[in-house]
């Protein structure tokens, strides 16, 4: 390991100037999280109802699986650049690029969560007089929660990672340190940006994993049946 580089990295983080102002770490983290958060929020609002409906009716499931697989092959950077060239550098182009990444895992998680609910449970819910929307909202979705959260976790990671790329099209967020450092031939700044992006991704992943674990305790029987599956099914999507 190049100890000079590591020392420079330490002094970069120790410099108080990097912790204040519009280019400071707190501002960049806040920018990063706000872009990612907005995309995730829109993704949740679109993908969870659609995924739940497809899972409940069982119609169009092949579309969800096909879409999730096809989008895995789509290069994020190319998509983002194409959108920016076509509709300009604005909130819409960046959010669209992030949404394309956020929706498939959310959709797939919700769909397979609802789809995998034991049919006997659904029949029992109907048998006690529940209407279809009650079956979906009060029975299927709560049971599907671990897989929905699995989808949210994958989507969040993917979006947080890709928001870093958005700095290339002159957007803010933590990617700025990478792109600016590259332009100014300031490797220390680039490495600091990379550390920050990695830490942010690990923190987001850790938080969502703990939420999943906390909720998993409440639905322990369900987790025993589906928990192993959710990992292997979604581990593939990354950025």
């Amino acid at each position: 390991m190049d100890s000079g580089g590591v020392m420079n990295l330490f002094s970069w983080f120790a410099d108080p100037a990097h912790w204040t102002g519009p280019g400071g770490i707190p501002t960049r983290v806040a920018e990063h999280l706000s872009y990612s958060g907005l995309a995730l929020l829109i993704g949740v609002v679109i993908a969870i109802p659609v995924g739940a409906l497809i899972g409940h009716t069982g119609r169009g499931g092949f579309l969800v699986v096909g879409l999730a697989n096809a989008l895995r092959a789509l290069p994020d950077l190319g998509l983002l650049i194409l959108l920016v060239l076509l509709i300009g550098i604005n909130l819409v182009s960046v959010q669209l690029a992030l949404l394309v990444l956020a929706i498939p895992p959310l959709l797939a998680g919700t769909y397979s969560g609802v789809r995998n609910v034991d049919p006997a449970v659904v029949d029992a819910a109907r048998g006690v007089g529940m209407r279809e929307h009650q079956v979906l909202l009060a029975v299927e979705l709560p049971i599907a929660l671990p897989l929905v959260l699995g989808g949210l976790r994958t989507a969040a990671l993917q979006v947080v990672a890709t928001t870093a790329i958005a700095a290339y099209v002159s957007y803010g967020g933590l990617g700025r340190y990478l792109i600016d450092g590259q332009r100014e031939h300031d490797y220390t700044q680039m490495a600091a940006g990379a550390v920050l992006i990695a830490v942010l991704a690990l923190v987001v992943e850790g938080l969502l994993a703990s939420v999943q674990r906390l909720l998993g305790l409440r639905t322990a029987g369900n987790r025993a049946k589906l928990g192993g599956r959710s990992r292997s099914e979604f581990v593939g999507v990354r950025s």
Binding site: M1, D2, G5, V6, L9, A70, R72, A73, L74, P75, D76, L77, G78, L79, I81, L82, V84, L85, L86, L157, V160, A161, A164, I165, Y168, V169, G175, L178, I179, Q182, Y187, M190, A191, G193, A194, V195, I197, A198, A201, L202, E205, S232, V235, G236, V237, R238, S239
Partner: protein
Amino acid sequence: MIWDWIPRNQPLILGALGEHVVLSALPVLIGLVLAIPLGWLANRFPAARALLIPAAGVIYTVPSLALFVLLPVILGTKILDPANVVVALAVYTLALLVRAVADALAAVPRSVILSATAMGFRPPRRFLAVELPLAVPVLVAGLRVATVSNISLVSVGALIGVGGLGRLFTDGFERNFPTEVVVGIVLSILLAALADASLIGLGRVAAPWTRVAS
């Protein structure tokens, strides 16, 4: 789309495509070769499993762009060295496959191992001739995911100057030329589809008993 740009720039496009193939295939090979012994270790020794599987999860969480930039600090390479991209993607492939190999080996039925032992297979040969072949379908599934996501991730390397088809993205952006970006995206998707189909084919040849099931 300016269609005649494509034939006029064939050398540029093919060069980027060739670089993309090498940058995405080489890490898969390296990752696979390392994942088999490590997956065996994780399956054989609970302590190794307790160390390797969480470590693989953490590594898998680090975004590719961050890893591309941090590897020069760890490896002492230059920032523009293609080795950074190859090592980063090999590490991701390894992180994905080590778990798949360990799980696949754990799923080999006890009775099969006992029969093989009774037939006179010693542990090394039993591993190579019985346990590993039975793990092939799971291994192929992991390889497909790793290969397809590598192909999509290589282009991110263009941000640090090494990116195969990703160079068409950054170049197209700087020249405000969407055609070049579209060509890069389409080739990247086609490459992923082709690689995926070849791996499915390879899996059927290597594990003929799955043909009926799938």
